[in-house]
Symmetry: C2
Subunit: 202 residues, 2 copies
DNA sequence: AAAAAACCATACTCGTGGTACAGTAAATCT
DNA sequence: AGATTTACTGTACCACGAGTATGGTTTTTT
């Protein structure tokens, strides 16, 4: 089984790199198989169609992100610090590989709705809802111990993390300035600070 | 000349509606000509290719947005109020037609980079930079009269408006909740308030 | 009336996604 | 060791959408 899953993940690696660089539609199967050193037939052996590939990529991305945030959570002392450190780490990560963030895949899927089947759209939705619940949990811990300076909905606040990242990625691509995404995350950090931090400093 | 430009804008209307609903790639020329009551030949008479169509749509969108924000600017009293009202109007507009906002086109273009030629990408870039300079101007007026509670870059703050809108649109589509985009804009309003408003209230 | 602009009709090429199916090398099972 | 399954290769084919070519027709403008 080792050989099979190796090829499979190689296909996914090549595909992901290409998709993040040029978009899903613009990435042809021909190109993927060329980079993966297999044949068209080989591709269709592993993935019944392009949809299945997108589905697999989103699924894998969720797992990667989950472990990443698990590590981040262990670093902070209080819930607010955890959140701020998490955002800082995220910003640094985005600085390192600005267009490598797999959030792009979700965005692509979101804007190419009818192009994908229900499986892919559902996976996409689960990803977004997963982020919401994760960040919601973190913000709940914060409001339990800190006073909120403005009355905002926690679910919406949780969504803001994803929205800022996705929007930052788009803007970053549009103006061709890779640093934009990380900057936006840092602005979100500033907002969280203003919302919850007791003193103006820190 | 009236007849020609009428057909042209009808093509663009139909195309825009379809693209916003299903994405650029998923919208076929066949479909556009069917909705526009012309033939394929007619389409290619007005637009040399699909790229030209995208270009025209982005260009038109910029003009529409410019006039919209011109009106919004006349409503506020001080610069901060103008900004807050502007964001409020924007949120209401997004509530009314959540997926109708043409920002989607820019986002689509951003994520389908290689699919478009330089013309389209440049138009897209100009759109994003236009937003930046517009909002930057507004924020500059604010910092001239208000104290900033956190030291953030004004260009980045200006970008945040676009980022929140684009990100909100993506998230809204991903989780299939049309209200998300407007909520995110209102959160941005909350941030601006916390950043600049002298008292906690108002 | 002449010329240009705004189309229509038809037929073709080419790239890409996807299917079908026959064959083969290597790992796994019995 | 032989049989079966897994993981592929190779070839041939279909459908569909973008784009080209070209010649003809109607409408508007001059």
């Amino acid at each position: 089984m080792a050989r099979g899953s190796e090829t499979r993940s190689k296909i996914m690696d090549v595909a992901q790199a290409a998709i993040l660089a040029k978009g899903f539609e613009a990435t042809s199967i021909e190109e993927i198989v060329a980079g993966s050193e297999i044949t068209r037939s080989g591709f269709f052996y592993h993935f019944p169609d392009k949809n299945a590939l997108a589905h697999a990529l989103i699924k894998r991305h969720i797992e990667v992100e989950n472990e990443l945030f698990g590590r981040a959570a262990a670093l902070g002392e209080g819930p607010l610090q955890t959140m701020l450190i998490g955002l800082k780490l995220m910003a640094e990560l985005l600085d390192d590989m600005p267009n490598g963030h797999p959030g792009c895949i979700v965005a692509t899927a979101a804007y190419q709705d009818r192009l994908f089947n229900r499986d892919v759209r559902d996976a996409n939705k689960r990803a977004a809802l997963g982020w919401r619940s994760r960040f919601r949990g973190m913000f709940e811990d914060i409001v339990a111990t800190h006073r909120m300076r403005d009355d905002v909905d926690i679910d919406q606040l949780a969504d803001m993390v994803s929205a800022i990242i996705e929007g930052g990625l788009i803007l970053s691509r549009a103006v061709d300035e890779p640093s934009v995404t990380a900057q936006q995350v840092r602005l979100l950090q500033s907002y969280v600070k203003l919302l919850f931090a007791p003193e103006p400093g820190l």
